[in-house]
């Protein structure tokens, strides 16, 4: 019997938790959002109370006539909700509205003679946002105090936005329960021009679905890499399912360049340009130029970024995109890996839960060195994947696994970059890159990443905090105000005076000399 009782209590607890979670989801995603108001709180002047307030059952409340007058003055559909403490009254709007609109209504109400004050009834949201995804607690990359990316505190500021297009240049997408249609508001594109490599029977086409990237020559299986990367950026979050993503409302554009046995530079170059909204011959333009472009791919070229790739990246950057690339998993300097070594690319190294340089299966480690901008969690990272043995397609999956690599560190940074743009859509790509670098957390003492993994460890909360206080570097150099005008005027007056005196005396001296000469001649 006690066991039975325990089971019932447990079930009730789960139901209660579920209800609470759904309520929070509703507040976060639905009709109630921060910076909104559901009505106004009004307090009348004491001296008008007998006229404005009627008694009903001993509880003071606003009279119907007063509410009607308020509706006219406010020019809004108000309904009386209840009397509250401090002698104030709550009136609801028909629908939640923006704080600015609510404040305008409150201001209009305050023009009424019998209203002492009126203020919007603001929607509040919980602080230190913790998603209810079942695996969240094991996703150290999001919240670990030592080396996690400090997302819960960041989510208090923003959980992301669907209006920030994030291009994921990778293997394409699969249908997975952690990625839904809202994540793919903008259709991607399949940039693989070689039909054999594409595996879908044609070359470039508008279908960016992942057709597998297995390589028959070495018996590798398909990695479903693009799905994994996208799940880190924007897995459906707060859904009481497996994993949480970074941007809860991510708008991801799958751009397919990796197919059978990998991809090639020509397709990557075109994909970068297209993702940023630039025109690529033979391909319809991307209607939603990406603010963030994630490239969890690379090639150890042992040479500098080639001019064509660099030109594409320069153009994409000039178009406003933040370009983020995996530093690479070969345990070599990232300066030898393209596109990590290209200018205007943030190369992301991987660190583990101790803040050390990431070491992966097989004994290789994250690339490192001066080309690395910063480091992000990249060891034992939960990702969406495919359980099917089918190497050609993988759809309608629910599986997640943990995996490691800089491919998983890069989307951590891309996700945080998208949060920055979500929080302030006017921030430009230069500022985002600077903020990501400058807000990075110091590596723990004795970390093997020190001096090897860029400016520090990705810190989403610190980045959003820095965004609020960020001052444009142009303000740090040169002159910023007009000053010294009085000095200037007096200086010129003095100089003019001096020249006048000089000219006058020269004239007098010349005349005297002329007079003397004349006298001498006489």
């Amino acid at each position: 019997m006690p066991n039975r009782l325990t089971q019932i209590l447990l079930m009730l607890s789960v139901l209660l938790m579920n209800s609470l979670a759904n309520a929070i989801v509703s507040m976060s995603n639905g009709s109630f959002q921060s910076s909104q108001a559901v009505g106004v709180i009004v307090k009348l002047r004491n001296d008008t109370t007998p006229l404005a307030i009627a008694k009903a059952g001993g509880q003071p409340h606003l009279s119907g006539q007063t509410v009607a007058e308020m509706k006219v003055v406010a020019a809004a559909d108000l309904s009386y909700k209840r009397a509250m403490s401090q002698g104030a009254h709550v009136l609801n709007f028909a629908h939640a509205m923006s704080l600015a609109d609510a404040q305008a209504i409150a201001h209009r109400l305050m023009t009424m003679a019998n209203v002492e004050y009126a203020t919007p009834n603001v929607v509040y949201t919980p602080m230190l946002t913790i998603p209810n995804d079942l695996d969240y607690s094991s996703q150290w990359s999001l919240h670990d105090a030592t080396a996690g990316a400090n997302l819960p505190q960041a989510w208090d500021t923003t959980t992301g936005s669907n209006s920030v297009p994030i291009a994921v240049i990778d293997t394409g997408y699969t249908r997975h329960d952690q990625l839904d249609a809202s994540n793919f508001a903008t259709a991607g594109y399949d940039f693989i021009s070689d039909p054999t490599e594409a595996g879908d029977g044609d070359g470039r086409d508008p279908d960016a679905r992942d057709e597998g990237d297995f390589c028959a020559s070495d018996s590798t299986r398909s990695s479903w890499h693009g799905t994994a990367v996208m799940s880190i950026i924007g897995a459906i979050t707060n859904d009481l399912k497996s994993m949480a993503g970074i941007n809860w409302h991510a708008n991801m554009i799958p751009v397919r360049v990796l197919g059978r046995c990998g991809g090639t530079g020509d397709d990557l170059i075109d994909a970068i340009r297209w993702a940023a909204g630039l025109h690529v011959a033979g391909v319809p333009d991307n209607p939603a130029p990406a603010k963030v472009i994630n490239m969890s791919l690379g090639s150890v070229t042992n040479q500098a970024c080639d001019p064509l790739t660099q030109a594409a990246i320069d153009d994409a950057h000039a178009a406003g995109a933040v370009l983020i690339a995996a530093a690479g998993n070969s345990g070599v300097p990232a300066a030898d890996t393209t596109p990590a070594n290209c200018n205007h690319v943030l190369a992301i190294a991987a660190h583990d839960q101790n803040g050390d340089l990431g070491v992966f299966a097989g004994g290789t480690s994250s690339n490192y060195g001066s080309a690395v901008a910063l480091s992000a969690p990249g060891v034992n990272i939960e990702i969406a994947t495919c359980n099917s043995a089918d190497v050609y397609s993988c759809d309608n999956q629910t599986a997640t696994i943990t995996n490691s690599g800089t491919s998983l560190a890069a989307p951590m940074a891309s996700g945080v970059a998208s949060l920055l743009v979500s929080a302030d859509n006017t921030v430009n790509n230069y500022y985002v890159e600077s903020i990501l670098r400058d807000s990075a957390r110091a590596f723990p003492t004795n970390s093997t990443c020190i001096n090897q993994c860029g400016s520090g460890m990705l810190d989403a909360a610190a980045a959003l905090s820095l965004l609020k206080t960020f001052t444009a570097p142009a303000t740090q150099i040169g002159l910023s105000k007009d000053s010294g005008g009085a000095v200037f005027v007096w200086f010129w007056l003095a100089l003019g005076f001096m020249l006048l005196v000089s000219a006058r005396w020269s004239h007098i001296a010349a005349r005297r000399k002329h007079t003397d000469d004349s006298a001498h001649h006489q």
């Binding site: 600077s434 142009a474 150099i477 000095v487 007096w490 200086f491 100089l495 005076f497 001096m498 020249l499």
Partner: protein, 223 residues
């Protein structure tokens, strides 16, 4: 005459002293310094002016380095026009009008471009001939300059642009070689040295100039 100038000077400086009190709180030490310099020079010029001293015009170019604590140097190219009047054998008054090209440095990894939109500078220039006695039609002289510069700069990064104007005491020195009515000069000038929004900065550089002196037999007069 000298007394008259001195009385004028004391009158202006007397006013200046009062400006430091209630009536003109914005006037600072630079004004007094500049006024003192100019009026002293005026006195000297009046005292020394015995000939119809020539005007001269010229143009120059050179480097202009913007230095600010904790930032990389910004290296600009300056170009300027100038006009001057020789006050006597040892003194001239000179006005510079110029601007610069731009240079870009990285601040927090973000490219920031700085340029001098324009500057107007006025100088009192003292010079001393060092040419050998047997030089004919040539004159080599060293000079020092003291004055003030009004300068406007613009700095911009990919998301923000700001401009500002400041006035500062300027000083410099150089050497010039005159042959008949033409002269070339090589000098160093610090146009601005000041602070803005909490950072100290200076703007200075080497310049090369060429000038034409109006009038006859200027070499003899200059000597």
């Amino acid at each position: 005459m000298i007394c008259w100038v001195r009385s004028s000077a004391s009158f202006v400086l007397g006013n200046n002293a009062r400006f430091n009190g209630q009536t003109q709180p914005n006037l600072h030490m630079p004004i007094r310094i500049i006024l003192s310099i100019c009026l002293c020079v005026a006195s000297l010029s009046v005292w020394g002016a015995e000939v119809d001293d020539p005007w001269y015009v010229g143009a120059g170019f050179g480097t202009l380095t913007y230095q600010q604590n904790n930032l990389d140097k910004v290296n600009l190219n300056q170009r300027y026009l100038f006009v001057g009047k020789q006050i006597n054998q040892h003194l001239s008054a000179e006005v510079h009008l110029g601007n610069s090209g731009s240079d870009t440095i990285q601040v927090s990894g973000i490219p920031v471009t700085l340029k001098v939109d324009n500057f107007v500078a006025g100088f009192v220039k003292g010079h001393l001939s060092i040419s050998p006695q047997d030089w004919n039609n040539k004159n080599l002289r060293v000079y020092g300059m003291l004055g003030g510069t009004r300068i406007k700069t613009t700095s911009s990064d990919p998301g923000y642009t700001q401009s500002g104007i400041q006035t500062s005491i300027s000083a410099g020195a150089g050497i010039e070689l005159q042959v008949n009515n033409l002269a070339v000069q090589l000098g160093y000038l610090q146009y601005v040295n000041g602070s803005d929004s909490g950072h100290n900065y200076s703007l200075a550089g080497l310049h090369v100039g060429i000038m034409y002196l109006f009038g006859d037999d200027q070499v003899r007069d200059a000597k």
